[in-house]
Amino acid sequence: MDRLACVSIPAFELQLLIKRFPSWQEVPAAVISEPKPLGRVIAANRSALKAGVRPDMRYAQALSLRPDLQAAVIARQDRLTAQEEIIALLYEFAPTVESARFAHSTMFWLDVRGLSRLYRSYTQWGEQLLESLKAFGFLGACAIGWSRLGTFAAAQKPGAVRLFDTPEEEAKATRGTAVRYLPIAPFVKERLTHLGIRTVEEFLQLPKGGVRSRFGTAVEGIYAISAQGEGVPVQGSAPREPNRIRRVCMPSLRRVTPILENIGELLREVSEGSRRRLSRIRSITVRLRDESGAVRVEELTPAEPTRDHELLRKLCELRLSRLSWKEPVEEIVIEAEEEESLLDQQELFIHPPKRRPERGRRALSLLQARLGSDSVLRAELQDSHLPEGSFLWHSFEVQRLGRASLAGSLGASIERAIQEQDVNGSRFGGEIQLVRRFLRSSGDNRGAGRAKGSSKVVGGPYVVSTRWWLTPVEREYHYRELEDGTVEWSYYDPERRVWTLLGSVE
């Protein structure tokens, strides 16, 4: 019998969610099937579980338990892309990788024959693999043994590597593994418990024909693993070759026009490659190397995944036409990041709306290409006591424009419900709040906070003291009204004895 390993990524969508929103790590968070009240909770983190949120629960019910629950949908394409990236990483550790998916956990079997000669031990191999996975942003578990089922059942504890020295040891451990450790839906675990089935051995004794009809295809898949004969080799899914093209320019190119002409030709080939692979291009990376060896890298993202090489050429032209080169360009490399070309059948039948999201995405994409990738932004609130740290600017994800966000659909409707209170005669809780203007480069405003001329204090000083666990910060925040009615917002740092103007109330 040949050795094989199983690597599992438990709660894969939940890990994807936290990877996308790192600030949700410590707050109640969940993955939902759709951003609607009737959407289902697919997975929830520990904070949410403590509050009573459970998988399969309706989203509205979860919100009633925990109104501050953060939730989002993980799109199928995002999941597939992440899976492909993990497979590419695993191929650095084994010659063959086979993937499977059970109840929101993602599993991989790896052929580890001969690897003991490259590492001190299989355990070391497993530990290095998990470290690489962790550096990539995912927590996984690894088991090295002799059978799919045995390694599958053992690879459950994140961060741990389980090694079976002999097939007998693995078989014994597998028989006694509790069913609750298998990646199956909670309702299935409940039914098995009612049937008195508690271990994997008892589970495998169920009649094969009844498993699918009673528990669904996902559970049947787990059952089928045990039915596979021993010695079936790991069936690898070959990683896709990147869609990359390279051209050495002879002679080297000094001017923008011939550079763009060459890029246009290469983009035509890259687009044709995507068409043959039944993919669409999500973004392109253009690398230009000049005769001194310096490499300039530009990344361009169209509004929507596309195969339109003219659109890509236009984006390149907008970005590169403003640039200049000291040395002639001697090599051009273009690499395309692709996604599966999914046909959304609903789009075939819906009459195009008057305001077309794809045109908005195209507009933002053009502005990003023309003004720079840091020119189209969105604000994200952060959890900080200091006003300056209470938000961050992120690059606006153009491809999400026009697709309802969680806040856009559910959160905004909740806000609207609050705003629709009758102001007249109601207990006024502050429907409209005055807005402050914020000076981004407030560091340059030091010393500007002390109002010149006569002014009166209209707020503060309010002392904020924080970060005592790192470098203590203490600031006194003030509002001052000037003679012309302007209300300035500033703070005083008593340690540095510096005033800083933050902005004004408008």
Binding site: G360, V376, A379, E380, G408, V423, G425, V435
Partner: protein
Amino acid sequence: MGGRSFVSGSLSEALPPGVRRASELPRYRTAAEIGVTAAEKPLREVVREGAGARVIELLGTAALTAAVRWTAEAQGRGEQVAWVNAREECFFPPDLAANGVDLETLPVISVREREEAVEAIDTLMRSGFFSLVVVDWKVQWPLEGALQTRFLRLGEHHGVTLLFLSEEHASRGIALVPVRIRADRRREAPGVYRLTLEIVRDKRGFGMTRQEEAAHGPPGLR
């Protein structure tokens, strides 16, 4: 370990310095108490529904607040909004969230110079996807006639409202703008303000010219 004990159910002892009873804290006044009557229809909605009100100039001591309310209301109707502002300064995002703005779906185009601002406005309006484009760039740039005409035509053709924040002295050069609104604030009580919206130029004939709303200051402002 030291500590103070209190008679159950009441604080009968003198409070230490800096500690106040909750009943002594200033409470928010209601809109009616400060004499603000809610209108049947907010002036913003009247202007929005007015035919051809495609370029609107906002100025005054509460212009930014008025623009943010406009944004929140547009989003509440399911419309898409975009902002254009200067790199050096911007709105304070937590205040927008407090006013009900969905930050996640609000693209903010951050520009360095006038030409970039004009290009951003033009591109956004031509897409026809955004129903409201807010330009928060209070620099002394005269909006010359050709630009005014172009934006007016784009607004009418694509059904886009261009709302730009202006300053008193800069607005004298903007002759073709059909609607100019002053938004001012006045403190009525600790933390409570009277927000006045007044149409100071009305080439479309809305009828309503002035409206008041109640507002409260950001945390810490009396």
